[in-house]
Every structure is written in C-alpha cells, then in structure tokens.
Symmetry: D2
Subunit: 351 residues, 4 copies
Amino acid sequence: MAGNTFGEVFKITTFGESHGAAVGVIVDGVTPEVDLSEEYIQIQMNRRKPGQSAVTSPRKEYDIVHILSGVFEGKTTGTPLFVILHNHDMDPAAYSSIQHAFRPGHADFTYLKKYGIRDHRGSGRASGRETAGRVVGGAVARKLLERRGVQVLAYTKEIGGIACRLFEEQAIEKNAVRACDPTAAAEMTKKVEQLAAVGDSCGGIVECRIRGVIPGLGEPVFDKLDAELAKAMLSIGAVKGIEFGSGFSAASMLGSEHNDEMSSAGFLSNHSGGIIGGISTGQEIIFRVVVKPTSSISVPQKTINIRGEEQVIRTEGRHDPCICPRIVPVIEAMACLVLEDHYKRQTAMLG
Amino acid sequence: MAGNTFGEVFKITTFGESHGAAVGVIVDGVTPEVDLSEEYIQIQMNRRKPGQSAVTSPRKEYDIVHILSGVFEGKTTGTPLFVILHNHDMDPAAYSSIQHAFRPGHADFTYLKKYGIRDHRGSGRASGRETAGRVVGGAVARKLLERRGVQVLAYTKEIGGIACRLFEEQAIEKNAVRACDPTAAAEMTKKVEQLAAVGDSCGGIVECRIRGVIPGLGEPVFDKLDAELAKAMLSIGAVKGIEFGSGFSAASMLGSEHNDEMSSAGFLSNHSGGIIGGISTGQEIIFRVVVKPTSSISVPQKTINIRGEEQVIRTEGRHDPCICPRIVPVIEAMACLVLEDHYKRQTAMLG
Amino acid sequence: MAGNTFGEVFKITTFGESHGAAVGVIVDGVTPEVDLSEEYIQIQMNRRKPGQSAVTSPRKEYDIVHILSGVFEGKTTGTPLFVILHNHDMDPAAYSSIQHAFRPGHADFTYLKKYGIRDHRGSGRASGRETAGRVVGGAVARKLLERRGVQVLAYTKEIGGIACRLFEEQAIEKNAVRACDPTAAAEMTKKVEQLAAVGDSCGGIVECRIRGVIPGLGEPVFDKLDAELAKAMLSIGAVKGIEFGSGFSAASMLGSEHNDEMSSAGFLSNHSGGIIGGISTGQEIIFRVVVKPTSSISVPQKTINIRGEEQVIRTEGRHDPCICPRIVPVIEAMACLVLEDHYKRQTAMLG
Amino acid sequence: MAGNTFGEVFKITTFGESHGAAVGVIVDGVTPEVDLSEEYIQIQMNRRKPGQSAVTSPRKEYDIVHILSGVFEGKTTGTPLFVILHNHDMDPAAYSSIQHAFRPGHADFTYLKKYGIRDHRGSGRASGRETAGRVVGGAVARKLLERRGVQVLAYTKEIGGIACRLFEEQAIEKNAVRACDPTAAAEMTKKVEQLAAVGDSCGGIVECRIRGVIPGLGEPVFDKLDAELAKAMLSIGAVKGIEFGSGFSAASMLGSEHNDEMSSAGFLSNHSGGIIGGISTGQEIIFRVVVKPTSSISVPQKTINIRGEEQVIRTEGRHDPCICPRIVPVIEAMACLVLEDHYKRQTAMLG
C-alpha cells in the first residue's frame, strides 16, 4: 500500500535512501533449490553502477552484493532472500546547497508536500540509487527465467535526437551508451559528452525485447501483461511514457494494417508487440520507454526555497548527463520481475 | 491475483462476459453516508453505450444500472456496492463463424492458449463490454472526487491521422467523436464514416486532464501515481501506449528545457505532466494514450482455425469503426478509480 | 482492505445485505476446464438453508443458485464465476422495532459506530445471510479439492453443555443438529427445542477434520495454514475461538507428552492437529471452534436506543435457537477456501 | 503470498534465519514526522531476549537495534524503516546432531516436505528468533498507538496447570514468568525450574488486554478485528488456539447470559471480549492464547531421519523450558501491528 513492494507471488520490497547507511531488498517467493550466488547477482549490479564510462557519473558506490538470508549452501531455500548494499562515497557537503531549495525536475517539492518531511541528501528514496534493490531482485528473477528459456534484452534506441538505424545485438554492451547501432552510439556518446561539458543533460528512448515467452501469459482484465509492464516501467523515476509494438504510430493506422494476420506458420507481423488482450501471443514482446533528460544539471535554473522565496540554483554533485545507459539494466530487471511473477501466477491458476 | 480486481483501498471487481447473462461490478471501500443514486451512475453509463451516433456500433445494450446492495435510503453504507447490468440484444448467430477461427487483432488465440478453453461469443471477457463495470466504479469514484474538488476530463485528440488544432472544452460532448476541436471533429467523423463504409477501422489518441489534485498525491516507489495510471490505461484492451506531459518528445529535449522551473507563483511550465517522482505537483495532470484501430473489421484477413488450418475471415457483427469516442468515458473512469484510491491511501498513511 | 474479499489466488468477494435485493459472490482464480453445475453448488446451499428442521429458523430463503458468468457449456473458463441469490420472504415489519434500538449481542451498535449509518433490516451485512456467498465459493473450492483427494468434514461436537461421546461419521447428516453421536444428538435436539420454547438460545462447539492434505502445505511465517484457518473461522460472526489438535489442553501438557513422535510408519500421535510450524504434516488436520449462543432471543433484555435512552428489547423474528447445525457447512466452506487457496499458492512458489 | 509480510497499510516484512548472518524487518506505511529512536525499540527487544532469568534460554543474542533507513534526524520520514539485528553466539555444532533427523514437535519435517530443502541450523525461519523482526515492527506500531491512547498488555495467565488467581498489573514485569499474580508466579517458576532440571518443558496460557480502542474499529466481513487478531496470534509458532471474551465457555452458556446488555452508562458485561460482528465495542478487548510446551527437550524421543530410519533423539542446545514469558512481548507486538493497521484502514475508508 505504501508502495515499496512490487509483485504478487514473486515480489520485492526495497528500503534505503541514497545517502543513508544502506539500500537493499527482500525478495520473497523465490523458488527453492535453485543455485544462486552473490557473483551472479553482482554481474547485473555492475551493469547499473556509476563510473563505467565518461558518459556516466563518476560516483563510486561499489555496490558489493551481500546475501544475508534465503540461500543455504549455495541454493535458495524458498525463504526470503535478503541483500544489503552498504552506501559509500557519500558526499553530503555537495548536497548542502539544496537542503532548503527545490531542484527543478526533482521530487524535492513533491516529497515534502506528501510527507511534510524529507531526507534531502541526494534525493533520499527518489534517487536512482533506490533501483539497486530492484536490480538484485531482477537478477534473481532472471535466474529463474533462464530455466524457462526466457531472455530479456534492453538497449538504447535513441539519445538526444540521434536514433539507431540498425539493430546489432552484439554491439550493445560494447559501447558506452548501450545502443544497438555502433555508429549511432558514437554520435550519441559525442553528444552526451558535449552536454556534460556545458552542465546540461538529454533524454532518450530505450527499447526492450523479450524472447521465449510462452503464448498465454498475462492476467486479464486489470493485470494484463502490458499493463503490469507499463506500471513497472513508469515506476522508474525518469520514465515518462511507454508504447508496445507499433505504439503511438497505431493512431494513424487502419485496422487492416494493424491487425496481425496468421498463417499455419504463425503470425505474419507483430504490430501488437507480442501481447493481445493482455496475454502473450508467443511472439517477441517489444516495447519502448521514453527517458526524460536527467534533472540534475549545473545550468542555472529558477526555483524557490522552502519558504517560497525565489532563487537561482545550480545542481552540483556528480550526475549522469544521460541516464539511458544505466537505466537499461533497471528496465531489464523490472521486466524480469514482471515476467517471473506472471509465470508463477499462471502456474497458480492452473495448479 | 487472477486480475479481475483493481485498486487497493477503493477497489472494484468485475465479472461477466460479453454474451453471457450479465456483466457487473462489486465496488468495495466506498465512503459511507454519501448520496448516491442509480441515475447518477446512469449518466456515465450512457456516455459509453453503443448507438450514440453513426460512428459507434448500433448494438443496443441498454445498460440499465441496478444497485442491489451498498446503498440504503439513498446513501452509501460503507458495505460493498453491487451493480448488475443485464445483457440484451445478443446475436450469437453473428458470432458462429468465429467459433473455430482466430480473428486477427483479437484475443481469441491468446485466451485459448492461456485457459485451454474460451467463451467465443463476442470475445467473452476480452470484449469492450467488460468495461461497463469499470464505468460504474468510476462513477462512484467521481462522486467522491467531486467532494475533493477534483475533475477528470478526457477527449479525443487525434483520429486516423487528423489531430485537433484547438482545445475547446465545451465542444467535446457536442461532437460524435468527443474531440476537443469542432472543426477537426467534423473531419474525423467523415473519415470514420468512410472507413465504416468499406469495413475498415482506424486508431487515435485520447488525452486526459485532471484538475484540482492536491500536491503530494502518489505512493513512491513502485506505486507511483503515473505508474498506476499507466497500468490503469494499459488495462483497457485497445490502449497500446501512454505518455505523461512532454512524453516521447522528452527524448530529444535538454534537461534545461524539460525541467519545470518554479517561481513564488508556482511552476513556470508543465513538462512533467503534473507528476514528479510519482507524486502530484498540484498542477494539471496530463497524459495521452494511443488507441489501436478496432480489431473487428469486415475486410477479409488471413488467419487460422483452432486446428491450425489457414482460412480467410471477415469479422461480421456490429462494431465501432473507431473506438475513441466510447473509450473516453472508460479512460475517465479508470483515472477516477486511481485518484480516489490514492487519496484514500494518502489518508491511511497520515492517519 | 475493506474486508469483503477472502483468499489470495483463489478468492471470493461477497456482497449483499440480509434484507436487500440479493446476496452473492464473485469467485476469482477458478481453475479452467473443470465441470461445474448449479446443481453441484446447490447441494451445499441446501445444507445451510433455514427451515431444515425444528431446530433451525423457519425463514424460507430459497437460495436458488444462479451462475451468471464464468461457466461456459458446463465448464469453468478461468474467468470470474458470479453467482447471485435473490432474497425472498423478507419481513421488514418484524424488524421495525429494532430500527432505533441496539440488540444485545448484535453488531447493531458497532456497525453504527464504524460507518455512522447502518442498514438495520435483519442486521444488513452482519447477518448470517452473508455466508450464503461463502458457501457458493466453498462449493467451488470443494470441487477443485476433490481432484486433489482432499475431504473436509465438520460436525457438531457439543451443544448446550451436551458433548458427543462417539465419533460416528455416518450419523452426522442424519440428525437435526449435525452431531457425530446419534444419542447425544437426540439430547441436544431436545435441549434446543426447550430453549426455543422459552425464547432463549445456546452455544456449542463444532469440530472440523480435513483428510488427504499433502505434507508441506502452508506458508510460513505469517500466512501459516493454521493462522489462515483461524482467520477464516473467526470471520464467521458467531465464532469466538479456535483450537488445533490438543488445543487449550496443551497448556497443562509436558513437551514430552505433546511432541508427536515418529516411526518409519509415520507420526505416532497427532497433538499438533496436523500442522507444525504452519505447514501440514500430512496427518488429519483437526480443529474445533466455539460457537456463541444465538444473539437473537425473545427473552427481554436491557439495552439503549440510538439516542442513548434505556429500554427493554425482545428480538422478534424467526431465528435459530442454536446456530451449530447451520454453521457446519459454512465452516466447511471456509476450510475449503483456505485449502484450495494454499494449494494454489504452493504451486505458484514451486512453479 | 509467500507469507513473510503482515499487514495491509502498516505492514512488516521479515527476513533471516536463526543461525544465518542476521534477522530483520522492513516496516512500511509508517506515519511520517513521528519521533522514533533505536532506544525506544530496544526496550521491547530486551523484553523478548533470552537470558533474562533462570526460566529462559541462556543464549545471548544481544539483539542490538540498528535503524538503517526511514528515520532522518530523529523523525520518521514515511519511507520504509529498516532494522537489522546481527546474529551472534551461534553454536552450529550444537545442531549437527539434528542435521539429518526430525525433532518431534519441530517444523523440520514440514519445512523439508514443503521446500525440498531446509536450513537445519536452529530451525532456520521456523525458529522463535524470527519474531525479533516482529517485535521491532510492533514497537513502531506501539509508538503510533500511544498517540491514539491505546495500550496493549499481555501476561502469563497459566503455566503447567498453575493458574493465576489474581490480576495484579504491577506484578507482571516483576516476576520471571510475566504472570499477573505474584504468588502463582512463584509456583510457576518453581515448576518450570523442575522441568528444566529433567530436560522437559511445559505449556501455558497468555492473556492480552487492549484498552483505549475506539468503538467502530475492524473490517467486516472477512477482515474482522478478531479474525485478524486470531491470524496474528496463530502465526506465532507455539500458539495453538485463541479465544475472545468468554471464549470456549460460551459453548455452555445461554443467549440470555452471553449477550452483553447495555445501559446509558455503556455495556453491563463483556462476554464478547470487546468485539462484536468483527468491530470493536469500545470496551476492553480481551483474548487468551494457548502456548504449547516448548518442542526442544532433552528427554529422549522416538523419531526418524531423512532416510526414514528410526532413531532416538535428544534435542541439545539452550532452550526455554516454557516459552510463555518470552512470548508475551511477541503477542503484544502482533496485537499492536493489527491495531495500528486497522486504525489506518478505518481512516482510509472514511477519508
């Protein structure tokens, strides 16, 4: 109810503020007797950590995965998996200037309005740091999905107006922006570096493809697979929209174009994005999310302080000029959580 | 878990198939001692019913609202409100041709894959008819939101490639497509009629504005206000995407453009769409959804039957060539449900 | 949240007041492709209906089961099953005297305090009539449990101080009080008739045995199988306590007596009642609930009216002098709901 | 779903095994801006810790409370409160003998049947150690209930056949068994010491009184206040039954005796235990739970090992010969959790 738990059967509950002592997660509903190590989870954690390249924040969080319960002699026990990530490299001094002023584009104002109090250090719970716990949960889900033959792959599709012209899967993890087109990736990187130099930021689009899902997954009516994926993605702070398959371009399509015809070999097209009526068709599930420009910029901006007085603010500290490359593993994690949870729901219904 | 309930505190559970005996809803968590009549709910039901104009299906469902519990002497009692809508004007013969074949763009195939069985008559639960129960629940939520000074308004923004150039609120309920621009509405209507004549359909975009929401509404981290609205909207069968505020155009904006600056008089822009960090800013909440072209068309299409044999199908029956005008009240209903539920959650936390 | 839904995967939501137009239930999470008929459910409904003998209320409710959705051509579809039971034989005049006064032992006072309003006709939602929807849901669960080889059997163990000395399973449905000892049953019946003659009532104890449950069912830590059964039973208005296995007598036992030893043939005793650590042992699950004397009596009692003025009240109307025989099928229904739900949860976790 | 979360609005999720690295809890739904310190929580933790007297286990767990998130500058922030309790003084050698054998009365057998794997060290999640996280959550709830004027008080009523003859509130925390009668307490202590000397254990009864609750608290129909309290209490491993007010003695009472009459000064008796129809009457809420004899005894017992071979076992290690005194703060904690959660639910409904 208070919003810190995600999932129905396979679920995560996260805790921790950006500049508190630690962040972490309880993963409940884990299948027992599955091999799971800290190293396996660490791989995904490393993909979201800052300081991977010139286009990401130089903050070092380390993010060393410690499993404190739920695994016994290398195997999951079915009881809650608990992972803690201690916070390091906190520089609260960098945040003292924002203690009393609302940073434009940040949740400073809304948190204070909601709770009447806020932990101003590094955005508290509204920080991207909170997603560390999600990535842990997502890694566990990914482990379980591997057994089902499901793969989840996200990548940058567009940054700062520069779009990928190719889909080259092998290129993704080899460029700093995690784009699926190496040439576009180089242009994007240059653009992001230029913006970083002037203290500005830019947005982008991340695409996600999910392969190997059985047909028949998803819970109509309200918990449709696309509805739950939409919720999962919009729960990521920087995401402002999502579209499946043909997405917004369906607005100007005819039914005779958009409907996916079938032959005995299967569907002849995938305008639906692999989900119809909230249930998977067995095709590739494909969606795109829009990522807003990072709010933290050092360009001077008009704002007010907590007494309502106008002032000009420059958000100091170490921030990503474009969050796309680091949001990619978070999107994958959330998609993994939704899928594993839906597989378990499907099993429950038939069981 | 099985997906037929929506909401946490204020919640609805719907039942009923398109061509079964009835559809309906249990609304639970209703504030007691509130004046509520069948007539009040009927107003919203009438807005979604078919046969309102040449651009909507001529099927007559009547949809007479019957409250069977939860209201005593004209006031809500706090106990479950139950409303039943008996089905009429069912023409199963029109559906016999689709008993064994999968209609392209429909959930026929996915339902069968999921459940191993399906009620083929008029799409069963996957039919737009299911949304009748949502509109009932939304009307009750709207009643409660009125007491909070919240207004929810949706309207067609674009149909078949024709976009509104104006926002004229008074025009919306006066044209057949519920568009916010009367001139564009006339063009849209003509376009839809032309498509209907050839048995085809088209998609569109519906925009929703919510006014009067307090700042501070929404539950971080996973149950963000925009995340829950996204889930609510994507749970509507024909919706394939959603964007808030600047939406997908944020992909090519700079942080210095997208961040909403503040003065002592409030925010200087609304690129965020009234929600930051999942919590309302107190500005107008604004989002758009894309509505796919109606799947039921009489243009011949390739498909297969349940034995996997290829065939050509023409979906007979009475269908809306563009669902936008009838989806408008459903979108408002879902938005009302999310908002009233979040107001109650906010009260619970502080209480 | 508002308390009208029970279960996690297999769940029911009930609606309706005692003297409203109807009561009923939505059963969600039903396994698809299972044979289910109105007749099958009717058998259980008939067991709880009034007027079965001299010891039950002569009110005729009929309670004809109507399935309006979720079953297609005799089989469940996996979509919500909806059953409505229209109310008949309502005699509101009999209740006019209690419109303004609180009946001792009834929920009149507490409902008014909670909601600020109440439907005084026949106790509204607090009436035993509400349990009709539970019995429908329980019958569906029983159908699914049959496929698992699970049997649920409840019966009267004690009424008005008269306890069964034998356990004769075949006798249960053959006597008016549903006791497991025909001799004791005759004594109980006589006692209840005597109390009825003077307008008084009495309490009793109902025992429930569940056979055929696999070892390993139940969700630690908070959703233990016994914890959920306890909640289910205490959610029945007249139930004031529950004990498993040796129950309250364990208070004066030693560990060396109470611990159930094991041999290679299995457990050597069943003091635990078939559940240890919240998980089934595979033995018979056995528990007892205490049923309070029916609150509605025509013996004069001191009370106050809604203005706080003292008065003497005699509750008129047709009431059961002892509710045990009619509560037996409700207890079975609730036990069935808990079990089927836990089987589905277990499947989900492993799946 | 997997059972490690309790509560709807104010809720806790616990993790950790008895002999793992740590146990702990996430408390979600905490009212913001409330003063809260580690010291306040530590007081309750100290009440449940072992080694308080000769009748409790000499194991030293320390249980130092560390708040790692959710409190900022001494006040709650409304975000998840996280508390970790590191495990110390673990003596795994003491448990090696039970690695392959099932201890009678323990959850060894059932956990293995459920999960196919178990952490045999000190019972894993089935250990009383798991309740540490509950006591943390309960302490936070107690803090919030203090603001509402609600007090929760539990105490030993009976141990090993010796019952309290008096209710002397001041005596409770002054005797080793937390009994409400100092004379009976001395007898109980002697009895427990005698049993400890021979390696046996005994059961008892704990009573709980809750004062200051408003009339009107509780959610009919399924989430009745007594139903939720019953679930909460039965979720404690050693509890095998619960009764409210007159409890099981109601089985032999008449309606004219059991019904609580009313005068203008209020209720004239409290046979209901302060709850009618699942809603509080505003009287003292009173219930009793039966606590089974501690399963861990060094008396030799027949059992089998994981290969099904018969053997004799003596459970070594340091155990409480009667768990009543240490279960008292756990019962209070669970009652506090239920009450604060129900207050918040009530607020939500009316809000």
